[in-house]
Amino acid sequence: MLQAVTLSCRRGERRLFSDLNVKVEPGTLLAVVGENGSGKTSLLRIFSSLLPPEEGSILWDGEDIHQLKELYSEQLTYIGHLNGIKDDLTPIENVMSAMALAGEVCSRTAAQEALEAIGLKRLIHRLPSKVLSQGQKRRVALARLWVSTRPLWLLDEPFTSLDAASTGVVTQRLHAHLQRGGLAVIVTHQEVELPAERVQRLRLAG
Amino acid sequence: MIWSKYSAPQAFYPLAGRLIPWFSVVAVALIGVGLYMGFFVAPTDFQQGEAYRIIFVHVPAAWMSMFLYVVMAVWAGVGLGLNARLSFMMAQAIAPTGAMFTFLALLTGAMWGKPTWGAWWVWDARLTSELILLFQYAGVMLLRTSIDDLRRADRSSAVFSLVGVVNVPIIYFSVQWWNTLHQGASVSMSTGSKMAATMLTAMLLMTLAFWLYSVAVILSRVRCIIVERESLPVWEEQPTVVQKVAEVR
């Protein structure tokens, strides 16, 4: 269970939000929405422990993630605005090295299947990623979700640049993750097509 | 505890304001006495003639340059360890003064070198290490100005000044692995104990004066930094402090 307690965040002069309390139960998804600049990305980075909050804390199963450190990192898969893929590596190599870095095992065939699952055809598995189109790059980044075994997913605008078909595929994958008891926090400007009882919406005022 | 009471910039602000006049007055007085002793009491050095009188600015400046670097690094370390804003501000305030003294040590050294060694500059260990120290100061300050985000600027330059302090003793002792032209402590004191005493007193007085001057200047720079950096909301949260600050100024 992921919990934010009296969280507040200030960037520069502005306080983005304060006294934020929210709880994400296993099997549910928190959709963070709000206008541009309302602090969605900042909140997600606080959840991921990349950004220390001004006040308040994040609890994972009741323990402060600040104390848990690497134990908490072991629980999560974070995909930010940036794709985190290397232009010079092929999609397969990208998926494999991202997984290896995260300390999860991922065979070549697993990576290949993940890429196919998200709709990247065999043909381009072996091209350097830099020739891929914007949406294809995003898909390479998201392919990690098909091999990830982590319970907590933090996704920052996963659907940007994706076409309608891929958006659907990713949503399905999210659904499967939740059904297996996973948690997810996603930032998005679109509607998430998931059963209402699974989704909790958090609107940041801006 | 005193520290915890004054570790908030807003509380430190008036305290610093009260301390500055004392340090400045004593600094000016000591500089006066030091200069008098240096020029009118201390005798002529029989080896170097009157040129040696540069010692009364050169050595204090050189000592301050190194001392201030270490102090800066200590504040930076405290800042990183305790996450205290005031410590970072102190570190930020020290750097320019330290750099200035480093520059002065270099300049007065060059002024001394021309008559005694016949060259403005030699690539001697002591001289080079002082030059390197100047670069380290420049590095700290440039790193800070290159980063927009204040929090990151504070912490990054703190890391760098801490790493750099490891280098200070190393370059300082490199004299021993390198043949050196620059004199050690004994040379100009060799002309006799009584004369050495007045010279030494003058030099120490000037050093003390420079130290007091540094404290005064650094404190008032910290005050500027506090005003510049503490944003409006922070002052608003403590209206009483604002009141007090307004009175003190």
């Binding site: 991921s48 422990s49 990349l50 950004l51 220390p52 690497e70 134990l71 990192s73 072991e74 999560l76 974070y78 930010g80 605005h81 940036l82 794709n83 985190g84 893929i85 290397k86 232009d87 010079d88 590596l89 190599e93 090295s97 991202a98 290896a100 870095l101 995260a102 300390g103 350097p128 | 990183l80 080079t128 290490s129 390197i132 670069f135 380290q136 420049a138 590095g139 440039l142 790193l143 290159s146 980063i147 985000d149 929090r151 990151r152 912490r155 990054s156 890391v159 760098f160 801490l162 790493v163 750099g164 490891v166 280098n167 190393i170 370059i171 490199s174 692995w177 390198w178």
Partner: protein
């Protein structure tokens, strides 16, 4: 966070960086190439007298090696930072300092090792004798990893800062000074017949010191850069 998975993560990072270097083979050749060019520019700028060249040989070689290191270092983290891989690295369930060591190691293999291997050839150009060449290689073998370790601190500090190429030089070069003095000193004293052991052991000490301190400082700097 078992020990084995720590090795896995480090191995993963080393493998990935070497793979990337293979993909861009010319980048890897870059630092060697830079070294060769700087070293060969000197006789052009200074003039061809062998006596002068022999005197300045060790110094020039060491300065050139140092600059080559610096150049390649300036970008150890930039690519990872820009494309978001660095975020992923920081979130890895292993101590960041350990990953940093992996990254530095890969980097040294790519750009430091070739310098060491090539140095005797360049030493010959400056008329160094057999024994001095040995000392030169040894000094570089001990010195370049130290340079890499120190350099990463600077590289991490300037991440995302504009004009970072030169800033990193300004930050790191003063810290390189002891290594340079001991390194060039070792060669010079072996040329003077004194033997370079004293300087070499000082270089070793620097290496050990930097191995203990630099990864932590780098890890702190990286976290700060990503906040």
């Amino acid at each position: 966070m078992s020990r084995s998975s720590m090795w896995e993560a480090v191995g993963g990072i080393v493998r990935r960086d070497l793979l990337l270097a293979m993909r861009r083979r010319s980048d890897a050749a870059m630092s060697v190439f830079f070294l060769v060019i700087v070293v060969s520019l000197f006789p052009l700028g200074v003039g061809p007298e062998p006596a002068v060249l022999r005197t300045i040989g060790p110094g020039v070689l060491w300065v050139a090696a140092l600059l080559a290191c610096l150049l390649s270092l300036a970008r150890v983290f930039t690519a990872d930072y820009v494309d978001g891989t660095l975020e992923q690295m920081v979130l890895v369930p292993q101590p960041l300092a350990v990953l940093v060591v992996g990254k530095v190691f890969a980097h040294w293999v790519i750009s430091g090792l070739p310098i060491v291997v090539l140095s005797p050839l360049l030493g010959l150009q400056f008329g160094l004798s057999g024994e001095s060449l040995g000392v030169l290689v040894m000094s570089l073998l001990l010195g370049t990893p130290t340079l890499s370790m120190i350099g990463t601190i600077g590289a991490a500090l300037v991440l995302g800062v504009r004009g970072s190429g030169l800033l990193v030089a300004l930050l790191v070069l003063p810290l390189y000074v002891p290594v340079l003095i001991f390194g060039a000193g070792a060669v010079t004293s072996s040329m003077a017949g004194i033997g370079g052991e004293a300087n070499l052991s000082l270089l070793g000490a620097c290496l050990v010191l930097s191995l203990f301190l630099a990864p932590w400082a780098t890890a702190v700097a990286l976290r700060i850069a990503l906040e």
